[in-house]
Symmetry: C2
Subunit: 250 residues, 2 copies
């Protein structure tokens, strides 16, 4: 038996990629042999080489395809008007896309170290483009004084890590429906970067405005840090509002 009946390239090709994706994601690139992928497809190992030049390229193509689809899916998304709106959409999009493609996400995050340097550079560039999409939103928000972000690059990495983490625990049919998960994450993201009222007023120079105590305010913030530890505020800011503030108006 050489060629099997009913076989064709546009069936075997995708099946190989699906099997490789699933197995690489589940057991890791190095732990999965070409023979095992072939067995999953129901084919001999040699047949895989009609569809990929080698194992490394198979991994690389899976990761590149995933990231390209991620980028084009985001570009196709409606963007929203304000930075806050765009951030909300980004968070929800990210959660949705990452829940729907857990295996590809897992692969693209875990197997970077198994790429050759040249392939790694390509994947990193794609990933960077996606991160920049988020950072641009943050920068816009900072420019409009809608966001209070000490460092847009750090915050970009922090938010993406937080959102991507959903793949580690979310399971379909679990305690929380996907829509609610999206909403909770989006809400947290928004709160994490939003400009607090007391600060917005200070920045706008409204010394006449009543200063209201607010969590995150310097007088109350980060009380646990040792003396001399860094703070988020610039030194000039840390001194902050006058010490005598109304505790609560109500």
């Amino acid at each position: 038996m050489a060629r099997r009946s009913g076989s064709s390239a546009d069936i075997t090709g995708p099946r190989i990629r699906e099997a490789a994706l699933r197995l690489f994601a589940r057991h890791g690139y190095a732990a999965v042999s070409m023979r095992r992928i072939a067995a999953e497809v129901g084919v001999q190992a040699g047949a895989l080489y009609l569809y990929t030049p080698d194992k490394q390229t198979l991994l690389f193509d899976l990761m590149r395809t995933h990231l390209e689809e991620l980028l084009s899916a985001w570009e196709a998304e409606e963007k929203g008007e304000t930075p806050a709106e765009r951030l909300d959409r980004f968070a929800r999009f990210h959660i949705r896309f990452h829940i729907e493609r857990r295996e590809a996400v897992f692969l693209s995050n875990m197997e970077l170290r198994n790429l050759t340097p040249e392939n790694f550079a390509v994947i990193e560039a794609l990933r960077h483009r996606y991160e920049d999409a988020l950072e641009d939103i943050l920068k816009d928000g900072v420019a409009e004084r809608a966001f209070d972000v000490a460092d847009t690059r750090l915050t970009t990495m922090a938010l993406i890590a937080m959102l991507t983490g959903v793949t580690t625990w979310y399971r379909e049919g679990g305690r929380l429906r996907q829509g609610r998960v999206e909403a909770i994450y989006a809400h947290m993201v928004r709160k994490a970067v939003q400009m607090p009222r007391w600060k917005r007023r200070r920045i706008e120079g409204a010394a006449d405005a009543e200063v209201i105590d607010e969590p995150g305010e310097p007088a109350e913030a980060a009380p646990a840090s040792g003396q001399g530890a860094d703070t988020v505020e610039e030194p000039a800011d840390v001194k902050g509002p006058p010490a005598s503030q109304p505790q609560r108006s109500g």
Copy 2:
């Protein structure tokens, strides 16, 4: 040449664990051979089996040791009085510990799938204990109405993912000093979970108090979600404050 001059178990043992940790973290468990670890130590592969029964146990011991040290380091930490204080300390501790032990963190996060089921269960239990430490802080904050957290478990996972993500980009001698990184992350964590003023007032039933617009408020929050999409608030809450609110008092 059989035994090498100047050799002793309390030197070779640690060197094997260090080499294994570094190589496993860098290239992945499955991609690193016992011969390569041995070569790094300057020894033959067979000698490794004087120090570990097999490769799997070597991995497991590295991960278990790391998590046990993480737990006992946190337990030794000063805890702070209020939930906000404890959360701040937790965030800073987590960042510090994870920056200092990048390789062990990387290993413990990436190689879970290469553990046998029995070993996996042990590691997961340890990891769960650490997550619970954070969740307890969040629960306390929710009970005291200091935190506004829709789901403590989800938030725990989200915050840990965000904080642990620091290991993917932080490099010593980079743009940001460690203390500042700690401060920025701790600040974001705090903002992400804090109870907004408008909501605290509503909960406390202070209908007399002036309601102030606040980012995160339902009227303004999550505007990008499609119709019928989930929101963070419970249905009763979503209807929210009366529609007519002063936009800004200033």
